[in-house]
Every structure is written in structure tokens, then in C-alpha cells.
Amino acid sequence: MMNIANVFRHSLQLLLRQKLLLLATFAIAAVIIATALAAEFGGRQPTAVALDVGLSTLRLVLPLFMFFQVQEIFSREFERKYYQLSLTYPISRHAWLLGRFLALLCASSILLLLIGALLGLQVSLLGQGHEPATPVSLGLPYWITLLFTGLDLLVLLSLACFWAVIASTPSFVLIGTLGFMLIARSYSAVLALLANNTNVVGSVEAYRANLGLLGYLLPDLGALDVRMIALYARMEFLPANWAALLGSSLLYALGFLALTVWLFRRKQFT
């Protein structure tokens, strides 16, 4: 336990010495600029459109931030053979990996909360001075939305660590996890939309059946996007089976984390 805490502390120091703060600043700036621009085009509902686009940007830049950190802390270490030194310390590989994972999780969570708070502040400032028919909710529904987004990020983080341990090139972490993110976030929405878009693919039913199989391979990250509860301030938009949704995504992340630990223990360094 002590070992994990030590690795955690050292990893955070390592991240801070690298480009963590610079990348975090870029991520924050991207969300704030996108939100401000969206509000300009908001029409009848500037706050809802601003919050909507802000959350979308957050869901795009935070994974990128995480992947760069994973590259920094795993792939660089393997590439530059720092592990020849770091693995000689009297710590288990288990602790070596989990300490790094927790440091990444900590940095990403802090950034998520920071951006969330700034976005909430910005949207509430934008909303001052005019009263829309249906105002957005920046209270509990908003923070629930951020919690679900955090779970989405946790799944992506554990997957990125998995790729970092098994892949031989650092760029594979970025490509592999981005590809996973794209499919896991879109397949359930595409499945639903195909029901009334029958002319997009040849045989819709066969296509939907095959796409439905993905549900057993990938967690439904698209359903974790529950922003409608905050956008329209109606808790009714929260999926009824939210507990199962949270549980399944959490188990998927833990499963991949355990698999990563197992693989790392058996990893043969050349």
C-alpha cells in the first residue's frame, strides 16, 4: 500500500514536470472559447446551446489530455528504457502500475472538476439578463452529468493504459483508444437512428443485428451522455436503468484494469 502511494506521488511529480499544466490550460481554453462562440449562435436558447457545445468540447478534449498523459507516463518510460531503473526499486509491478494509474486518474478528475466548475460559471454568466422559457439546470443535474462523463473517462483511461502496456509504439495508445471511443460512443445512437433511416444501409435489420452484438463487446458510452437532464432541467431524461448502466461501465473499466495488471506482470522487456 505504501508502495502504491509512493509511486502515485512520484508519478504526479513526473507529470507536473512534463507538459501537464500546458495541456490542461489548452483544454480549459478550448472549452471556454467553444462555449462562448456557441452562445453567439444560440438563437432563442443561448445558454442551452452554450452548455451543450461546452459539454461536447469537454468530452472531446479531456480524452485527448488523458491519452497524452498516458503516453507521457507509460510509453515514454518504455521507449527511453527508464523502467530499467524504476523497476529495480523494491516495489511490485502491481504497485508500479496502479500508482501510475491512480496519478493519471487524479489529474484527469481534477481537470474535469475544474473545467466543470468554469463551464458552469460561464453559462450562468451568459444566462444573466434574460429569462428563457426553459432555463438550463446548473445544480444537481449538471453535476450528475459530469459524474457520468467522469465514468466515461474512467473507461477510456483504463483502456488507454491497457494499450500502453501491450503496444510497441506510443501513437497506438492515441489511435487505438480514439477508435474505441468513437465506436463505443456512437453505436447505440446509430442503432436507434437506423430505425427510421432505412435508406442508409442495404439491409437494415441484418445491419442492426450485427451492430447490436457490439453491445456485448463494448460498454455503451453513448448512453452515459445524460446531458439532457441538465440542458432541459428535467430529471425524467435520466435513463431508468441508470444504476445498471453505471455498474456495467464501472465493471468494464475494472476488468480492463485487472487485465492490464496481469499483462504487465508477465511483460517481457527486451
Binding site: R44, V49, V53, T134, Y187, A189, R227, R234
Partner: protein, 280 residues
């Protein structure tokens, strides 16, 4: 001479000279007849858009609405064919999107595409289960354009059940349309003028101004018909009789170029005939 060809720089120079000579020769050739530019704009279907926007249907809906409101209307001319498809795609991505149903009602329904605008409002009514505006707009349009009294009343009742402030007004309207005691064209005109005053973008204002003028033409025609029927004591059979009697000097000009029609003894707004986009 063979010695020169062994120098790589000379080889490079010769190759590039040859390249420039061929480009020059090609530019001198007569061009093939240009293929005519495609008439219509592309609207990508909703499932494909979702993937293109990284699995984020909300972002797709937002950006597509911004795109259609910024580029669908240009110098007061609406590209109705494009707008119908674009609004439909957004309403599939996020049926709750407020700007989409509001602009859809202003641009499609009042631009002659009543059925297509109605579908967007129906989806918004379903998704925005707390909002009184989409069912009110849909109910009013059913009454004003299609004379579907029953459907109009049904949607006005939905609107009334969602509103605390306007419930009595909606219910009163539902009763009045059945008794046909209502000056529907003047009410519509007032409503459209309010939307015009609330609109912020110049482009939208120009568009709404045309629709207000179009409706003013209808008010003029119906007033003239009323005067004619009072003066002569018989129903108007043909619109030209208004000109013969000298009640109006000329028929009003519709700036949207859709025009008016005289059907079953009543002046109406003509609907746009849009081939190929109606739902089958």
C-alpha cells in the same frame, strides 16, 4: 554529354523542366465541357452524422442548426428543399432542440411546407413534454392551414395541460375554432408580427417580413370578400368579381411567390409543391 547525366542535380533540373513543359502543354489544351454544378445541397443522414461528430448527436444537432440558420437563408431567399431535409435531420438527432422547431415553424410552415414543418413540431411536442409552445404552434397550424379542427383541438388541449398561465386562453381558442367565430388570418398575422419583432438576425427578419406581407395579402383578400358579400348579399363565386366590382384594384402580390388560391368559397394560402421529399 554522358558525363552530364551522371550529375544528380542536372537530372533533377531536366526532370523538372520536362514537368513544367508538360504542365504548360496541358494548360493549353481545350477544357472538357464543365459538368453542371449539382443543384441541391448535401444533407448527411443522421446516423452518419453521429459517427462523423465522434458519436455526439447533441453536438451534431447544434452545429447543423447553426449551419442551416446561417446558410439556409441568403438575402431573403430560403432554400426550402435544403431546409426541409436539414431540419428533419436535426429533429432526428435531438428532437428537443428548441431553435430547430422554432425556425422550422417560421421557415418551413410559413414558407409553404406545412406537412414537413408539422412533423418537426410533432417531434418537438413529444420530446419537450413540458413545453406548451410546440403543441400550440402545431394545433394552430392544423387549424389555419389544414382546417383539421379535431386535431387542432387535441393539440391545443395538450398545450393547455402544460401551461399554467395560458391554459384558459388555449382552451378558449379550442372552443372558438369549432364555432368558427375567429378571425384566424388576423390572429395569425398578429402572431407572425410578434415573431418578427422578436427575431434578432437580419436574415431571419427579412424572411419573416416576407411571410408577414404574404399574410397581409390574405387579410386584404378576405376583407374584400366580406365587403363584397355584404354589398351584394350573395357568396363570392370567382375572385375576379372583386376586381369587376372595384372593391380592390389588383390582387395582392405575394413576396414568397407562392400565391393564393380560391377554394370552396374561401381564399387560402397556396402550399408549396415539393416533389420527391414528401414522406411516402
Amino acid at each position: 554529354m554522358p558525363y552530364l547525366f551522371k550529375l544528380p542535380l542536372v537530372q533533377a533540373l531536366i526532370s523538372f523542366c520536362g514537368f513544367f513543359a508538360l504542365v504548360l502543354w496541358r494548360s493549353g489544351q481545350p477544357l472538357a465541357a464543365p459538368t453542371p454544378a449539382p443543384h441541391d445541397r448535401v444533407v448527411i443522414s443522421a446516423p452518419v452524422l453521429t459517427v462523423l461528430y465522434g458519436g455526439d448527436r447533441f453536438l451534431a444537432a447544434d452545429l447543423e442548426t447553426i449551419r442551416l440558420s446561417a446558410t439556409g437563408i441568403d438575402r431573403g431567399h430560403a432554400d426550402t428543399h435544403y431546409l426541409i431535409r436539414a431540419h428533419k435531420v436535426v429533429s432526428e438527432l435531438n428532437p428537443c432542440h428548441e431553435n430547430n422547431y422554432y425556425l422550422g415553424n417560421a421557415l418551413l410552415t410559413w414558407g409553404g411546407a406545412v406537412e414537413e414543418g408539422g412533423k418537426i413540431l410533432q417531434r418537438a411536442t413529444e420530446c419537450r413534454f413540458w413545453d406548451e409552445l410546440p403543441p400550440f404552434l402545431y394545433g394552430f397550424n392544423q387549424f389555419f392551414f389544414n382546417k383539421e379542427i379535431e386535431k387542432a383541438q387535441q393539440y391545443l388541449e395538450i398545450a393547455a395541460s402544460r401551461s399554467e398561465r395560458n391554459a384558459a386562453g388555449f382552451r378558449k381558442l379550442a372552443i372558438m375554432i369549432e364555432a368558427e367565430q375567429i378571425d384566424d388570418e388576423k390572429m395569425a398575422l398578429n402572431f407572425l408580427r410578434q415573431e418578427y419583432n422578436k427575431a434578432e438576425s437580419t436574415n431571419l427578419k427579412v424572411m419573416l417580413d416576407k411571410r408577414v406581407k404574404r399574410l397581409e395579402g390574405l387579410v386584404l383578400l378576405r376583407d374584400a370578400q366580406r365587403i363584397y358579400e355584404q354589398q351584394t348579399g350573395k357568396a363570392l363565386q370567382h375572385p375576379n368579381e372583386l376586381l369587376d366590382k372595384g372593391i380592390i384594384d389588383q390582387f395582392p402580390n405575394d413576396p414568397t411567390r407562392l400565391g393564393y388560391e380560391f377554394d370552396e368559397g374561401r381564399f387560402k394560402l397556396k402550399k408549396a409543391k415539393i416533389a420527391g421529399v414528401e414522406e411516402r
